[in-house]
């Protein structure tokens, strides 16, 4: 695999993680449990969608076929999206959303820390900018894990259920293939297997503080990074892409 092809796919993976999770969070707009949390979730959504715009615009430049960030977001089919399966999982209740966010935020934070020293200037620039935002996301989701876990009997039970059910989607974040290996060789990407122990350490620290049990690492779901998704992504895209599919080239 040549570097250009690998970089294109790598940039799409980064952009799709942010876009799909950002879109999921945006579904909370007007439905948050209280106003402050509604606003908080939407702020996180806005940051992620902003980040995805930077990545997807860059992916279009790398590809060199004239596709911009909108073409990438609105006109790709499901199998051409490379986000991790965790990002597309439905919101569920507030606790489910927080559990999904927490697992991703810890990973995202650690990944961006490494990517700030990527030899690709644009990837590094997006990482430096995003890391500042994700620092706030991680603080927010960590605090909520603790509040829900160490809260009432019901909040404890419900957040534990969400953690148990989403756990099988956490392994995929650390998978690597030819794309990663090609780019690690030239200092653009980072070795995800080195992030895994750091992720586990941070997650276990917060779960412990939250009086929650850390699930045992068992069988893990996989596929999103290769374009093979859960049924949820198709429904998500049908909403996200509706306008451009129905009225092609519609402008605001």
């Amino acid at each position: 695999m040549d570097i250009k092809e690998a970089l294109f796919k790598y940039t799409l993976r980064l952009g799709d993680n942010s876009l799909i999770l950002g879109h999921r969070l945006s579904e909370w707009c007007g439905h948050g449990p209280i106003l402050e949390q509604d606003i908080a979730l939407i702020n996180v959504a806005l940051d992620l969608i902003g980040q995805s715009r930077s990545y997807l615009a860059y992916a279009g430049e790398i590809e060199g076929k004239g596709r911009d960030e909108d073409a990438m977001a609105y006109l790709r089919v499901e199998r051409d999206f490379y986000n991790v399966l965790l990002a597309e999982q439905p919101n569920g209740d507030f606790g489910r959303t927080i559990a999904r966010q927490f697992f991703f935020d810890v990973f995202h934070f650690l990944l961006l820390e490494k990517l700030t020293s990527s030899t690709d200037e644009q990837i590094a620039a997006i990482a430096v900018k995003s890391l500042k935002e994700v620092t706030y996301h991680l603080r927010y989701s960590s605090e909520w894990i603790i509040r829900l876990g160490d809260g009432t009997e019901e909040s404890h039970r419900r957040i534990q259920e969400s953690i148990d059910e989403l756990w099988m989607y956490t392994g995929e974040m650390f998978e690597m293939d030819e794309v990663d290996e090609t780019l690690i060789g030239v200092g653009i990407a980072t070795d995800l297997s080195a992030l895994k122990p750091l992720w586990e350490e941070k997650v276990s620290e917060v779960l412990k503080e939250a009086t929650l049990n850390q699930p045992e690492s068992g069988w893990m779901q996989s596929g999103g990074r290769k374009g093979i998704h859960s049924e949820h992504l198709g429904f998500l895209l049908s909403e996200l892409q509706y306008l451009q599919r129905t009225v092609p080239n519609a402008k605001w």
Binding site: E36, A40, D47, K132, Y136, S142
Partner: protein, 161 residues
């Protein structure tokens, strides 16, 4: 002959659409102005990745330069170096507080993501430092919600980034 100093002074006439007391220069969003082949080139950087004000700011800069007689001004957006509240001018911070938004206290965001200590934030109404954070996310990406425990007034805080 137009100089870059003229262009900087025109930028002082362009206000942030969401915080209309701050100019784009106070905010530190304008990073550079240059004149290339008699054509002004303005370099801007977003505060947050998803800041919805950026498009409006870009349009306003273009409109201003067109009004000053340039046919084809260029506005470039860069991500590096990443914007920080450290770039906000002292005058900008003063104007923010007068407007009722507490300016960023201290340096850019604390990298210690977990359980970081909160900044001491002064109430823009009664100036008490006896305040507490209601939510670290507020009405725009750059603000957090606070409340003063003395005068009880809720207020926005321009958080450090």
């Amino acid at each position: 002959m137009v100089t870059t100093a003229d262009i900087w002074s025109w930028m002082e006439d362009i206000f942030d659409p969401e915080i209309p007391v701050l100019t784009v220069v106070d905010l530190g969003v304008v990073r550079d102005v240059a004149i290339e082949n008699n054509r002004p080139v303005i370099t801007i950087t977003p505060t947050y990745s998803g800041c919805p004000a950026m498009n409006t700011i870009e349009e306003e800069i273009v409109q201003k330069l067109v009004a000053e007689g340039f046919e084809n001004p260029e506005v470039k957006t860069v991500l590096h170096p990443a914007w920080t509240t450290d770039w906000m001018s002292e005058n900008g911070k003063k104007k923010l507080e007068e407007y009722g938004i507490a300016p960023p206290a201290g340096g850019s965001v604390n990298k210690k993501a977990l359980f970081a200590e909160q900044d001491t934030v002064r109430c823009p109404q009664c100036k008490s430092e006896n305040t507490h954070m209601v939510s670290q996310f507020g009405s725009t990406a750059c603000k957090a919600m606070y409340q003063c425990k003395d005068c009880l007034e809720p207020f926005d805080y321009f958080k450090c980034l």
